[in-house]
């Protein structure tokens, strides 16, 4: 009898997890995934791509779409250049961040701001493949025929107040990032899709310079 109940619970849990992300099922062998993911990430030293960002305001049934260019280079170098429908630039260079909106340039040391530090690390982790070892999150991994979904549920104070969960969707063939989904506690979400990806492109360090 106990065994029957246990099997029922197991089946229900599996069904719930599948229903959470249609088309995805929990990864059977997490250790193997981690190993393969780490191996693939070691082979990716740089990414150059376009991106489309969609901010979905749930209660307002509205979507704000912006587009731009994205560059990543190991270690800890990220540049996001928004060019539609506004101009905005973010450069992450290790623990330093530069933000340029219009003519205004702001330099921020992520060290001085705990939340910024967490977001900074999350951004880098997502593209660098180190998200699985970030202690700020509880991690679950799902798979589909097309790719992998890494679900990060914040456990650290600060980021936990803002985000319900963050999903990283990876391409099955090379484990590179396809999409980043950030779900807020308020019900809104922001989805960044990376398109026209060029892995291991030659990228000049000067793109990440913070003067």
């Amino acid at each position: 009898m106990h065994r029957m109940i246990f099997l029922w619970c197991l089946t229900l849990t599996a069904l719930c997890l599948q229903a959470q992300y249609p088309g995805y099922k929990p990864v059977a062998d997490l250790a193997q995934f981690k190993e393969q993911f780490a191996g693939a990430s070691r082979r990716i030293n740089a990414i150059k791509s376009d991106f489309i960002q969609e901010k979905n305001l749930g209660m307002l049934s509205e979507k704000i779409v912006s587009k731009g260019r994205f560059w990543f280079k190991k270690d800890n170098l990220v540049r996001m250049e928004y060019n539609q429908p506004f101009q905005y630039l973010v450069i992450i260079n290790n623990s330093n961040v530069l933000v340029k909106d219009g003519q205004k340039v702001n330099k921020i040391s992520a060290k001085s701001n705990k939340l910024f530090q967490q977001i900074n690390r999350m951004m880098v982790d997502c593209v660098q493949g180190t998200a699985l070892s970030n202690p700020d999150f509880k991690v679950a991994v799902f798979e589909s025929a097309q790719g992998w979904l890494i679900e990060l549920v914040p456990v650290a104070k600060g980021i936990k107040d803002y985000f319900r969960n963050i999903n990283i969707i990876l391409a099955r063939k090379d484990y590179s990032i396809n999409r980043l989904e950030m779900y807020e506690q308020s019900g809104d979400n922001t989805v960044i899709s990376f398109i026209n990806k060029e892995l291991n492109a030659v990228i000049a360090d000067a793109l990440f310079t913070i003067k």
């Binding site: 901010k55 307002l60 509205e62 506004f86 219009g102």
Partner: protein, 210 residues
């Protein structure tokens, strides 16, 4: 002699203090005009997106402000940074009410909320009752004054009421906030500027075409 000099100094100081406290609006000439004419400048939109710059006491914020007219006639304002992180989500309802759906904990202070509410109320042209309004004239401009719970909101136009020159939120005696709404297209101004007179706080909005 010293006592007399001190009295004179005190009297003259009191006189200047009184002068500085006198209302900048009271000296203006009253003029008959239809206050309802300014209602044509009220922004009309189903939704509009503004690129937004905020400078407050040395801190700089930028992002996108979405204004949306909701089916229940309320207006929702959502301000988030360019990467999608939300600063606030507020509502101005038809009955003059104000509701906060979300505000970043660091901004969740009574003074901030009151300032946001009053600044956007003057822009959205809320609480305007032409029956209670008054009109004054100065330097070739008409000041359409609408009494608020505290002080007045002024919409300042040319004498023909064909151009909205600026907006002022004022206490009984002095200007607290000045604002501009310029270059209307599709019912909304392309450029909006708000400047607080008592402390270093400015908001700049530029309409975005999506």
């Amino acid at each position: 002699m010293l006592l007399l000099q001190m009295r004179c100094l005190l009297l003259s100081s009191a006189f200047f203090l009184l002068l500085s406290c006198s209302s900048v609006y009271r000296k203006m000439e009253k003029t008959p005009a239809d206050a309802a004419c300014v209602l044509k400048f009220r922004p009309r939109f189903s939704k509009v997106l503004y690129n937004t710059q905020v400078d407050v006491v040395g801190k700089h914020l930028s992002g996108l402000l979405l204004m949306k007219a909701m089916p229940d006639s309320s207006t929702r304002l959502v301000f988030s940074n360019e990467m999608g992180f939300k600063y606030f989500d507020i509502e101005f309802n038809r009955g003059g009410g104000f509701k906060v759906y979300y505000i970043l904990p660091q901004m969740d202070k009574k003074a901030v909320l009151t300032t946001l509410r009053k600044d956007f109320e003057i822009l959205l042209m809320q609480h305007l009752e032409p029956g209670k309004a008054f009109v004054r004239k100065k330097d070739g401009l008409f000041y359409y004054g609408f009494p608020q719970t505290k002080g007045n909101n002024y919409y300042i136009t040319d004498t023909a009421c064909s151009q909205l020159v600026r907006l002022e939120r004022a206490s009984k005696r002095k200007v607290v906030v000045t604002a501009v709404m310029l270059h209307y297209s599709d019912g909304t101004p392309d450029t909006i500027g708000i400047s607080h007179q008592n402390f270093n706080f400015t908001i700049g909005l530029k309409k975005l075409k999506q």
